[in-house]
Symmetry: C2
Subunit: 85 residues, 2 copies
């Protein structure tokens, strides 16, 4: 049983109020070394059998059609999960 | 300007209704090669200067204190971002 990881982030030009709120929270908690924070989504898709190139291509297509909103988000990674999480 | 990526996932034993809904959606769209889907969060933290080991340790502490809920979530990765996303 393999797993494919899909990572989706808001496009850079899109305002990210969630990220801004987190950035403020980090400063208040004393974490001063960080600037802008952006929050996106991470998906794990269980795959029947091996995660072949064809499966990765299917996962990328699914990411673009269902797991992300192409108007405001970019699919930034589609890869085979290395570890058990 | 470096960026640190933090990835957070729901603990395996936690029910993930969002993931179930996505899994159903994938099947309806004709993506049949996938089983269970789980959805988590992906953060990008902008770092002033280099992403040193000390910065990564700070990012992990921030992830456990602010970016995740330790009762229901695991921090599954804290790493330096390789690409521009």
């Amino acid at each position: 049983m393999a797993r494919v990881v899909v990572e989706v982030m808001p496009k850079p030009e899109i305002l990210d109020p969630q990220g801004k709120a987190i950035s403020g929270g980090l400063t208040r908690l004393g974490f001063t070394g960080f600037g802008e924070v952006r929050q996106g989504k991470r998906f794990e898709l269980e795959v029947d059998g091996e995660a072949t190139e064809e499966v990765l291509a299917q996962a990328r297509e699914a990411a673009e059609k269902l797991l992300s909103n192409p108007v405001i988000e970019n699919v930034v990674a589609v890869r085979v999960a290395e570890d058990a999480s």
